[in-house]
């Protein structure tokens, strides 16, 4: 319950951000950080808690994004309905990928490669079929207003994202404290042992991938409405898949706050390097990459692990002082 209280506290504080931060530029930075945390938590549900490393979360993200865009542009359907449809269709794609991979017992690197392949197939398909605009992409007409899911102020976008991200984090908390979560983590730690104990790994993994797909899809819907333009590279390209897994890896896989910590750390590093030495082309990316390598080498359990280690060490030191 302490974790839930902390989660409530963090999100209550996050809710007030638009009241405190008036700078649109800072709001954009915070929105992009929260968006990365959402992508990361979506991946974390399957990869962190479930141990199923996906390299193709762009498949769910792109499906959500294209659904809301195509429904609006081709069929004139309100994007609020598109939001629901985007999430639902992403769940459908997740179920399909999950069924075809888990049904045949694909694990580890095989699962990772197959998810990567699915995302690539969808990228090629969206590059070919006319209703997605193919390689030309799809442009959502500018129509500012809450009714068209295009808020006039960034605060509106922020609260929409806040609500989706809160739902994702509550789901992750529930996974950490529910029977389903215990089964999922048992499958992650030893699938055969879990099966021997009566857990149905296929069923558990299917539920995890569908939940993961839902939040990735909703992140895609948010992206489409925020930037109003999509092309196959943006929607199904590898950048989204990489960002999805990088955030929890840096923050701490299989932990509730890992994706948030990872998103904050990655965006802070990215912003600081861009601000300090932004005029030198590419140098900020070099520093960003170097810091990532250092973090992965010296903090393999992510920032959450680092925080736990430091806390434990401080506790031991304090106890040692008491005994002395």
């Amino acid at each position: 319950m302490r974790q839930l209280a902390l989660l409530g506290l963090v999100f209550a504080a996050l809710f007030t951000v638009p009241f405190v931060v008036e700078s649109e530029s800072w709001r954009t930075t915070i929105i992009m950080t929260l968006y990365a945390a959402l992508l990361g938590q979506a991946w974390n549900i399957l990869g962190g808690y479930g141990g199923q490393f996906s390299f193709g979360h762009a498949a769910f993200f792109g499906t959500g994004a294209y659904t809301v865009a195509v429904l609006q542009v081709q069929f004139g359907i309100n994007p609020w309905l598109g939001l629901v449809a985007g999430g639902a269709l992403a769940v459908g794609v997740a179920a399909f990928i999950g069924f075809t991979t888990f049904r045949y017992g694909l694990r580890g690197s095989y699962f990772a490669l197959v998810t990567l392949a699915f995302a690539e197939v969808l990228r090629i398909l969206s590059n070919t079929v006319p209703f997605t605009g193919a390689g030309v992409g799809i442009l959502i007409p500018l129509d500012p207003g809450a009714a068209s899911l295009q808020f006039t102020s960034k605060a509106g976008f922020y609260w929409l994202l806040w609500a989706i991200t809160l739902a994702a984090f509550l789901t992750a908390w529930w996974i950490g404290h529910s029977r389903f979560g215990a089964r999922l983590m048992a499958v992650r730690d030893n699938e055969d042992a879990a099966r021997a104990l009566g857990v149905d790994p296929f069923r558990v993994k299917m539920r995890a991938i569908m939940l993961s797909g839902l939040f990735s899809g909703l992140a895609g819907v948010f992206y489409a409405q925020f930037f109003l333009y999509l092309d196959p590279g943006i929607a199904y390209g590898p950048a989204v898949s990489v960002e999805s897994l990088l955030v929890p890896i840096v923050g701490g896989m299989g932990t509730l706050f890992g994706p948030l910590l990872g998103a904050v750390a990655l965006h802070a590093v990215s912003e600081v390097t861009r601000e300090v030495i932004g005029d030198l082309p590419g140098i900020s990316l070099v520093i960003y990459g170097t810091i990532l390598v250092i973090m992965v080498l010296f903090a393999p359990r992510g920032l959450s692990g680092l925080v736990s280690r430091l806390t434990a060490r401080m506790r031991r030191t304090a106890e040692g002082d008491r005994h002395a």
Partner: protein, 410 residues
């Protein structure tokens, strides 16, 4: 006579000398002081200077910086007391979302106008974000027609869009083909997969049959593609009269080299916005692969002394004078010209001045500048052809520096 020291430690003689100097400066140097005090005009330059199109992004940045240096050297913005133009640089990393985030930052920092963003997808995002604060936004290179078709009051482009380029390319190809006795009856289009290549291919596919040229195949490839052997083998098996590539620099070079290696014998290679066909680097490094390739692309007016001087200045700086350089240069000139005419950096006034722009662009092969919905209707591409290691303009006739060689190999 002794020197009296005034209160505060300044000697009387020094005081008198300083006073005289200050007076002299006041008489002779006042206008210069006024000029120096005018608030600089800040122009944001957002380009993909890192990422997969970094070469082009850097070329754009260099072109824009050259324009700013030239404007400042000529006395800045005269209607604003000689205000200097100050560049604010940003890297979009080739990602629309980062480009848009940079616009937000710049708008908040009080930017007076933006020139962006090389790729169409980035230009769509940056101009839309700039529209939220009504910040004047000039697109330098992005050719998508959608950029200026969204009714954004702040978005302008001085160069041509791909609808016009594709029409121009087809019409000129028809003229060139007919002048040679119509030897080309079939064509294959090889294009990259993003907005520019796909859009161009779609327009060509629709228009070429109207000119009696059958499109027998369209091959799309990913970015990046590093092996064109299979694509070239397909070309070889289908034996088209014309090969039409529409791709970025690296892919274009590799495709052209592979076609030469596989000894493809077409009647012509006719690019539309070819990433390398109108590029001196390609022509210098791979003269055999480049020879006689025709292109329909952005180019400068080879008969304009101003254009040739700018080319020489760019080359003196070690730059390759590609279309990115002069289009970004022109975009900055267009924006500053509007600020000059507006006499202020008021956003509405600058946007209105851009919409009414009649800037003399005789250094480009354009007609009179006329903005319609943010697009300069006077802008047009030209046809170039690589001949003996030089890029020559072959069409339209008034800008031509050489005769067309078609079909290839006589």
């Amino acid at each position: 006579m002794t020197d009296k020291t005034l209160k505060g430690g300044l000697r009387r003689r020094d005081f008198l000398a300083t006073g005289a100097a200050a007076f002299a400066l006041g008489v002779t140097g006042f206008p210069a002081v006024l000029r120096a005090q005018a608030t600089p005009v800040k122009i944001g330059l957002i380009h993909p200077v890192s990422g997969f199109v970094a070469f082009s992004g850097n070329q754009c940045r260099e072109g824009a910086l050259m324009a700013i240096a030239d404007i400042n050297a000529a006395g800045g913005i005269k209607s604003m007391g000689g205000a200097m133009v100050e560049a604010v640089l940003a890297d979009s990393q080739g990602k629309p979302e980062i480009g848009a985030a940079e616009v937000t930052k710049m708008a908040e920092a009080g930017i007076d106008g933006i020139v962006a963003g090389y790729a169409s997808s980035i230009s769509l995002a940056t101009s839309q974000e700039a529209a939220k604060t009504n910040t004047p936004h000039v697109v330098d290179v992005g050719v998508s027609d959608q950029i200026v078709q969204r009714g954004l009051a702040n978005t302008f482009r001085f160069g041509p869009g791909y609808g016009k380029i594709a029409d121009f390319a087809v019409d000129n190809l028809d003229t060139i083909n007919k002048a040679a006795g119509s030897p080309a009856k079939t064509a294959m289009i090889i294009h990259e997969e993003s907005l520019f290549g796909t859009g161009t291919a779609g327009l060509l596919q629709k228009r070429l049959p109207e000119k009696g040229i059958e499109v027998i195949d369209i091959i799309k490839h990913a970015n990046p593609t590093r092996d064109f052997t299979n694509i070239v083998l397909q070309i070889k098996s289908q034996k088209p009269d014309l090969i039409i590539p529409a791709n970025y620099y690296n892919e274009y070079v590799l495709l052209a080299r592979t076609m030469r290696q596989q000894r493809i014998e077409a009647k012509g290679i006719y690019s539309v916005l070819g990433g390398a066909a109108s590029n001196y680097q390609f022509v210098n490094e791979f003269p055999e692969a480049a020879d006689l390739i025709m292109d329909c692309n952005h180019w400068f007016n080879p008969k304009s002394d101003v254009a040739l001087q700018r080319k020489a200045a760019a080359e003196a700086k070690g730059l390759i004078y590609t279309y990115e350089v002069f289009l970004a240069y022109n975009a900055v000139l267009g924006l500053v010209d509007a600020i000059e005419r507006a006499g202020s950096t008021d956003k509405d006034a600058v946007n209105a001045a851009l919409a009414a722009s009649e800037m003399d662009m005789s250094y480009m092969p354009y007609g009179a500048t006329k903005m319609v919905d943010g697009q300069n209707e006077g802008a047009q591409p030209v046809n170039t052809q690589v001949q003996n290691g030089e890029i020559e303009v072959i069409f339209p006739a008034e800008f031509a520096s050489a005769e067309t060689v078609f079909p290839m190999g006589g």
